[in-house]
Amino acid sequence: MSRSMWRRVQHPMDKHCSRYHSVTILPISGSCLSTGRLDLDGGAALQPQSGYIRSSTGNGGSTSVLAWDFNRTQLKTDHLSMTDTFQQLPEVLKLATSAHVKYIQSLDTRKDEYDYWLTEHLRLNGVYWGLTALYLLGVPEGLPRSETIDFVLSCQHESGGFGAAPGHDAHMLSTVSAVQILAMVDAFGELESRGKGKAQVGKYIANLQNRQTGTFAGDEWGEEDTRFLYGAFNALSLLGLMHLIDVDKAVDYVAACANFDGGYGVSPGAESHSGQIFTCVASLTIAKRQDLIDKERLGKWLSERQLANGGLNGRPEKKEDVCYSWWVLSSLEMIGKTHWIDRDKLINFILQCQDTEKGGISDRPGDMVDVWHTLFGITGLSLLGYPGLELVDEVYCLPKSTITRIFGP
């Protein structure tokens, strides 16, 4: 079932002579054959012909790399610094930081092409996505602080909850985005003085818990989803108000969502899905109940999300998508199994999804960009230790600096 091919390779960046490599192509999944890229390299810049395993010490500094050269089946050890590796890449495969910053800043003007994403019911969430991305790109002042706070507080209702835009009904998702934004810009004081106060927000969230089952609804209409459970834990822990809810019941509910394949679904019995897995694992992490997770089974299932082109999908036999480089990767990070996927391939994939001219990242190479995928592509790169990016907290999807400020080092 394997095919061997001998190809002469000349990498454009390679100053050395080309080398002959033997490559084995495996039809592990259908997409392997369809991508067509054989990932051959002639220099140290791109690795994929051999498998690389990185130790998880990385925070942008040097990491030791164990390189397996399969032709000679020897163990080679190369010490490559991450920065060196990525500086040698051609321009198109580097992160176009300034373009992305410009893209995010341009989102607050009226433009037709962003209509679909910045629709009314997502406006506050859109601000959260854009702002987090700017913080991670190292440009926290990219959006004006006081205007952001004004806007966020203008979305608040009497009940304490926040709507997606001024005049919109309060909903859990926009409330969580609001709390996250205020945490990032360090504006809980303004929430107390000018807004309805932290206690009121906590009360709104706590009222959305279904005290029989432990899960949370999105608003008074009662749609229940583990996303809202995670949102509640996220916001309440940032506000320091976890005591307002029945944490144990909620944890029981999350545990009941565990499936036979190791993953978690939207409700008990539903199919395992990477997005839901993130919400469940993060909820359990915040509640300090990771003991309930079968980390090996889950880690295996998550590692299976990686396709031959390096991208991650959300469920078996689905297409890759950049936003899963957050949902899957942060889950792996939380259970400490990030080294179970091929990180360089994933970095390559994310970098290919960016629009280096106009900025922004799309769900897969060649598609239209949007702020959602821009954020999650950047968070993915940050988790993988890409140089030049601020560290992101894998549980809260906020800059690590924000989390250290709120919870202490």
Partner: protein, 566 residues
Amino acid sequence: MPPKGKAAQKPKAGSSAAATKSPAATPAAPLSTKSTKATPDQQQPQSSTVAEKSKHNFTLCHPFEDLTGKNSLSALPTQADQLVWFASRLVTRLPVRSIGAKGQKDLWKTVNDHSLPPRGFNIRKHQKRQQQHKTADSRGRDIGEYSTKEWELRQEKRVTLSCLQLQSQRFRELRDRQKRGFVDSQTGDTVLVTDSEYLEEKQRRREMDRLKKELYGTQGMGRQGKLALDPEWDDVVPIVVEDPENALAAIAYSPDYAEAMSYLRAVMNSKEYSPRCLKLTEYIINLNPAHYTVWLFRAANIFALKLPILDEITWLNQIALENLKNYQIWHHRHLLVENYYPSISSDPAALSAFAASEREFLTQILAEDTKNYHVWSYRSWLVGKLGTWFNPEELKSTEDLIDQDVRNNSAWSHRFYLVFSDPENCTPGDKYAATEADPKVPGQIVDREVGYAEGKIRLAPQNQSGWNYLRGVLVKGGRELKSVQSFAEEFVMGLGEEGEGGEGEGTGEEVKSSHALDLLAEIYKEQGEKQKADLCLRRLVEKWDRIRGGYWQWRRDGLGLGEVAA
């Protein structure tokens, strides 16, 4: 408004060549000549424009007025002219009695001799008036440039518009009278606005809107939105929310959507539940199906008006087919079913009919998008709600989907739920989690499922879903993994062996499934055959699943065989 268009027909003095030119064109025209007044009328040429006619009329009526201000006393040739000019100014601008008797006598003599118009002409007022009236039509063309015919057409339109406005006003009065319950004095019946009159009014408003747009353009008096034109919405004041100038993350709405949203805010504020609100929600959903508030308001309307749920579900089916990636549709359906269920819970026939109709629709929509997560999570919820685990149709439907695409992970997951949450075969409730063995499960069910999984795995050995399912079934049934060892070994042959030509290790291998290798590694480890397990894992790292090298290496470390060189 300066008089327009009438001069051509009126026989009037002063239509000579001198009069066709404006006073400004002839700065030194002798004003004292009577020829300007006495010459016989001459028909204006038909091609003259409105502006020209206007000017012509003006010069006829105000022969001594000079709008441009270029004429001054010093420009007039003779003293006699100057006196006349002075007199014309005096008689219109001054209270004449303030001059002495002799002065008045002289003044009136000059006025009568030269037929000076005694009425005042306020130039500033005139200029202001000129500015107020739009001189450009809706296409930006100067109205002054219109020819007579075009001008008449325009006047006709304006007259039509006025008539329509009168009729519309009459309609509003009629409707108002109906609201107050008036009785028609002649026939003795209560006043009623019929449907045909409503329709007429709608058409009339559209016509008015069109005319206004043609005459005055889209600014100001121009086009209004669809709802503003609809007589049904006359009594509702829309709540318009404008973004401030430099709003953060401002949104570009289409005007239709913005208008519909402002009406929605108004009715949601007043908590109105009526058929027109329902229609409004349908309109907005067609514009933006992802707006969750409008869905909730629609649900509120349906429950308040006690409309038949099944009709709503039929309508929802259409919307669902058009918007496959929409959360709100499925939550709406959830709400509807929650509301509907109590009425059929005691009637098994109705229950099964409903379950069948739902299944039919779900099959239809899954044909469009076989792995739609919202559809599948709704489906598993519905099975739980209606209690249809045991229904063979449900299982068959799931099997059909697996037959069509053995890689459909959602279908596999649903099958697991159907089989292992069925209260007949399993311990109900959450005593045993999905990942735990359940002693109540009958052995034959486990055998059946294992057989089913094995059959499907053979069709696509590299597909994860089948292997995950097999593993899940074995755990649930409390079986050991080694019971499928021989099955897994079907997919792996000659592991680690050399080929015939002696090309090196592994070239004689035939591995149809990396998942089989994974399972075998686990089985061998359980049985204590660590070397064999290590071989499987090593080949996975080296060749058969390199991208997950980190994981396989971790498994190798877990075997406890000490440091290994590849």
